[in-house]
């Protein structure tokens, strides 16, 4: 298929799952063309590529969610056609979805056994299911109460439940779709160990991720997709993360983080003192300067998001806030937006955008009063604003009449930034700005953020990706269990320093 294909390390055995000339078109557009590669038992095979490269389409075809337009899937050398994901699963191919698909009101065990409940006569055998669920979760290196309601779990814990649920069926091939996208370094490490264990049992693992160092760490072989084509398959020993990025993007992306402006004298614009969000953040105090990018690091559940939500009036909280020297209180988002503080939620799809509405409606939602003509809304000016936003923020959409839900994650994030910038905020709080976004778009988001700061706006970035915080921030505050436990800047802005503060444990021998 691909002439640059090289033999991977792994065993010499025949592939358990093989793709031959797989293609998929939607209407006249071919999103996947002539893909061929093999997955061996007992190997971890990473599939990397930018958004829109065709990774998800490929995964959907291999797991039976989509039928290929052309080409074959071979299982143990035999061509197979899946009528749907149920049949693929019956043949031992399971997909661990990126999005968390659990019933929030049911317990951990009820979710894991949903649709395959264990019965005892006429009633369900709850004890067996609770024990089985606890065991399944334990085998993933986590400790969760099987009777806990899923709604009360963190995102990372929900992911564990989701993986446990997928692995409950007998499986030969497991496909992970960006499993670490919302995990902290610790949780990621634990998950990678779990995936290594799965490989050790002789299962073939297909692993999709944007995090290239992680791919380098665990994958045996790496297949790179770009624009629906297979660029190369290499043994991962032969590739450095920078090589992977170059193959994905098709150009050099060495400069992921933008050049930052020269130092300026600190000029405080926002001072938060002893701010408490009950149950989440305790007596947090910090100062944000003009033109500064201030990072908030910490583990998931450390209270960073909740603190920000408390400050902008999305959650009840108390403490003192000084904006440009004057005391301020924001009882609602409306009030904080009016004062020039915009908060961009980490939950783009759930809290940031109306996925079922068009782009213009989403863009102007928070600033719709600026588009009034008489008592009506001026649609023409709205459309003009959309054109401007598409240009300014490089929102890649073929057409302007798409729904927000039809954009890729990166473009959704750009739209969300454009939406909030319509309000011309002086302070922008961005929560997880690049979660689930490919490397090319990340670079753009970072340069937008740096550009906003260069315009004299002040930025707070909440992120679980430490390299990103270190790459773009002037200072980083670290939170642990609801408290701000330290600040790192300059020379001390390293992952080690942050991890020590975030966990409260000296994890490295060299201290």
């Amino acid at each position: 298929m691909s002439d640059v294909q090289s033999r991977g390390s792994g065993s010499d055995s025949a592939p358990v799952l093989e793709a031959r000339g797989l293609s998929r078109s939607f209407g006249p557009v071919e999103v996947l063309g002539n893909i061929g590669f093999g997955l061996k038992a007992g190997e971890i095979h990473a599939i990397i590529g930018e958004n829109g490269a065709g990774k998800s389409t490929l995964m959907k075809i291999l797991s039976g969610h989509l039928a290929p337009t052309r080409g074959d899937i071979l299982l143990d050398g035999e061509p197979v056609r899946f009528s749907g994901p149920v049949e693929a699963e019956a043949r031992g191919i399971v997909l661990v979805h990126q999005e968390i698909l659990l019933a929030p009101d049911l317990t951990v065990a009820q979710n894991i056994y949903l649709g395959r409940e264990v019965s005892r006569g006429l009633t369900m055998n709850d004890r067996a299911m609770n024990e089985g669920a606890a065991e399944a979760v334990r085998s993933l290196g986590a400790a969760l109460d099987p009777r806990a309601t899923v709604a009360r779990l963190s995102i990372a814990q929900r992911q564990i439940v989701q993986i446990a649920r997928s692995l409950l069926v007998p499986h030969r091939v497991v496909i992970f779709d960006e499993p670490t996208a919302s995990l902290t370094p610790h949780e990621t490490e634990a998950l990678l160990r779990v995936i290594g264990d799965i490989r050790a049992k002789g299962v073939g693992v297909l692993y999709i991720s944007h995090r290239l160092p992680e791919v380098k760490e665990i994958a045996d072989r790496v297949t790179v997709l770009r624009d629906g084509r297979l660029v190369a398959t290499h043994a991962s020993a032969e590739l450095q993360p920078a090589d992977m990025a170059r193959l994905m993007v098709g150009r050099d992306v060495a400069k992921l983080y933008p050049e930052r402006h020269a130092e300026r004298a600190p000029e405080p614009v926002l001072r938060v003192e002893e701010f408490t969000v009950p149950g989440h953040a305790e007596a947090a105090s910090f100062t944000l300067n003009k033109g500064e990018i201030l990072g908030f690091a910490g583990l998931i559940g450390a209270g960073r998001t909740e603190l920000m939500e408390g400050i902008v009036g999305l959650r009840p909280g108390h403490g003192s806030i000084h904006l440009n020297g004057a005391s301020a209180r924001f009882p609602s988002v409306h009030a904080s937006l009016k004062a020039g503080i915009a908060y961009l939620s980490e939950d783009r799809k759930g809290k940031g955008l109306l996925l079922a509405k068009d782009l213009a409606t989403n863009l102007t939602l928070a600033a719709v009063e600026r588009f009034r003509r008489g008592i009506g809304i001026d649609r023409r000016r709205e459309r003009a604003a959309l054109d401007t936003a598409i240009r300014d923020f490089d929102i890649r959409t073929g057409r302007t009449d798409l729904l927000a839900g039809q954009l890729s994650g990166g473009n959704q994030q750009k739209l969300l930034i454009a939406k909030m910038m319509l309000l011309d905020p002086r302070i922008v709080i961005i929560d997880e700005p690049t979660r689930g976004i490919d490397i090319g778009t990340k670079q753009q988001i970072y340069s937008f953020i740096a550009g906003l700061a260069a315009e004299g706006r002040s930025i707070i970035v909440v992120s679980s990706e430490m390299p990103e915080l270190i790459g773009i921030c002037d200072r980083i505050l670290v939170m642990r269990s609801g408290r701000i436990v330290g600040e790192v800047a300059g020379e001390r802005m390293t992952e080690d320093e942050i991890v020590v503060l975030a966990t409260g444990v000296e994890t490295r021998e060299a201290a």
Binding site: P28, N51, G54, T57, V333, S336, K351, K357, L365, I377
Partner: protein
């Protein structure tokens, strides 16, 4: 993740599907007109059709308000009882003779009905938003309260408009015509046009659909979610009041059973009109069309001999289920 590429070509299909769902009620209406013509020669006469539309006015106008509540993600079960309550208070006021001049008296009565309707809606809205209680439960409660108050006001009997002067002054509002068009039809058109303008063209309408579509997004965008939701119930109350303004001159009397089950007919009209019960989408003209469909089905049953007219409620119940099935199958084509 890679949604951008595949969705671009999928878009035309989505567009067609949305159109189809918006058009479906009108197609159904056209089909009914054909059926009606086949069933009875008199059906398609102007006289019969204007008569049918006139009679649909109460439900159509109330359902326009229900479209607001439902597209905001709420529900109002109290509208039927609210009609009885507002109409009773209006008639009692007109009977009280507080104002001697019949014209002034009537105008005051009209204003009173509108204010009471708005207040009833406001009560529903505030209990839902401030009390953080499910709209279903709240309006189930107020449904009982309005009904009970009406029964108490009428002491179990009827409340009848007694003033002859007011009666003769007011009667044309239901039975009169302007340029050959019955006034209730003009009421429907005006209410729907105004409601469509506000819902589709104004900031409030945009906010309402955003709240119904995803309340979290609305909240994080700084919209006054509570106020937007409350106002939807006030709009519903105002629509009920407008319906009362037509109802009182028609019968001139209310009883404890006035408006019984109208809430279900209004919800049926909204759903048949293509508005999703989960909120976020509102189709005002579809709703009006839905109300016509309900009335026309009844009319065809009266004019034809296929089915007993006693089965009207059953047929209307079947219509809502069929409408949902059609919507579902249209949605599935994506």
């Amino acid at each position: 993740m890679s949604t951008a590429a595949p969705t671009a070509p999928a878009r035309p299909r989505v567009a067609r599907e949305i159109d189809l769902r918006a058009v479906a009620p009108f197609l159904a209406l056209a089909l009914l007109l054909v059926l009606g013509t086949l069933a009875n020669d008199n059906f398609l006469s102007i006289a019969n059709l204007t008569n049918v539309i006139t009679r649909s006015a109460f439900i159509a106008i109330i359902a326009v308000g229900a479209t607001y509540v439902i597209s905001s993600g709420g529900l109002d079960l109290s509208v039927g009882s609210m009609v009885a309550f507002v109409a009773s208070l209006m008639i009692l006021f007109l009977n009280s003779g507080t104002i001697a001049d019949p014209t002034t008296n009537l105008l005051a009565g009209v204003v009173l009905a509108i204010v009471i309707g708005a207040l009833c809606g406001l009560a529903n809205g505030l209990i839902v938003t401030l009390g953080r209680i499910e709209p279903f439960i709240v309006t189930l409660g107020t449904m009982g309260i309005f009904r009970g108050l009406t029964t108490w006001l009428s002491q179990g009997g009827a409340i009848t408009l007694r003033d002859r002067d007011v009666q003769s002054l007011y009667r044309p509002v239901y039975f009169g015509e302007i340029l050959g068009v019955p006034i209730p039809i003009l009421f429907i058109a005006a209410t729907a046009a105004l409601a469509a303008f506000v819902l589709y063209r104004t900031r409030y309408g945009r906010h309402l659909l955003a709240v119904g579509s995803n309340e979290d997004v609305a909240r994080y965008s700084g919209l006054p979610v509570g106020r937007v939701r409350t106002l939807a119930y006030v709009v519903q109350g105002l629509c009920v009041a407008v319906a009362v303004l037509l109802y009182v001159p028609r019968l001139g009397s209310t009883t404890a059973t006035t408006g019984t089950l109208w809430e279900l007919q209004a919800i049926t009209a909204v759903v048949v009109g293509g508005t999703a019960l989960r909120g976020g989408v509102g189709r005002i003209w579809g709703t009006v069309c839905g109300a016509f469909i309900l009335e026309i089905v009844g009319n065809i049953m009266l004019l034809s001999n296929f089915v007993s007219e006693y089965l009207i409620a059953a047929i209307q119940g079947a219509i809502i289920i069929v409408a949902m099935l059609v919507q579902r199958s249209l949605a599935r084509r994506s």
